[in-house]
Amino acid sequence: MITHFYDVIIQTVCRLLIPFIQVYGLYVIAHGHSSPGGGFQGGVILGASFILLCLSHDLQEMRKRLTRRTILIFCSLGVTIYAGIGFVCLLLGGNYLDYGRLHRILPVDSVAARSLGIFGIEVGVGITVMAVMVSIFLDLASEEKVREG
């Protein structure tokens, strides 16, 4: 039986660091087209921030912030955003994922619409990847009974 030794230093440092890690994850998602980064990488960083919360504090701390239901909803939401943006392009008359057509509903011109379209799907990918990473960790860490982390 492993007893948990909650160290003050680890808890304090992690509590200070985790918001910055999350902001950095969002930055990596948003700057995927002009620096190394993108949806998958940013999603993993966001997921890692939640796992750090699990490891440094108790599992229940993270459960207060991300319930099982929320994780499931995020998994589906991300893919739905991705496929939904492609669908919208289809409805506006182009091929699937033809972001150039988005200029009819967004107030930008056709070239900038492509950039925004790619950004939209990267956000979707990031949400899904974050939810899946946290879900894998939760299933392995606590036999789905979620007592201790």
């Binding site: 002009s34 620096s35 190394p36 993108g38 998958f40 899946v132 894998i136 299933d139 392995l140 036999e143």
Partner: protein, 121 residues
């Protein structure tokens, strides 16, 4: 000699691949097989990325306000993009495999292949 020294990167990838393959086949512990699979897939990813590099090439990002773009100066970004997808596939296969190992452990209380085969009879 030129074959070994000149193409040393291919020798590294092949040896990594064979280490992973050997682990998948010969090891009895299921977690070691899984790690072997991971090494195998990682070596393939490294191999692909190395095919896109050029001597003296720079990263394929266009600076703001650049007028003339010469494609020959940038390294090839397509293998990087393909391998991003392959890394995602690798991670999700690893996740499913870990969940499977957890189910196997809950049922048989061991992760050695010969004991599991004996218990399954």
């Amino acid at each position: 000699m030129e074959l070994i020294i000149g193409k040393y990167n291919y020798w590294i990838y092949i040896s990594l691949m064979m280490i992973g393959f050997y682990a998948m086949i010969a090891k009895k512990n299921l977690v070691k097989k899984l790690i072997g699979m991971n090494i195998f897939q990682t070596s393939i990813i490294l191999f692909f990325i190395s095919t896109g590099s050029k001597i003296g090439g720079t990263i394929p990002i266009v600076e703001q306000g650049a007028q003339v773009i010469e494609a020959g100066q940038y390294i090839n970004p397509l293998p990087h993009v393909l391998m991003l997808t392959a890394i995602v596939v690798m991670v999700s296969t690893f996740g499913v495999a870990l969940a499977l190992l957890w189910m196997i452990y809950r049922k048989y209380h061991t992760l050695e292949e010969d004991e599991i085969l004996r218990l399954r009879r």
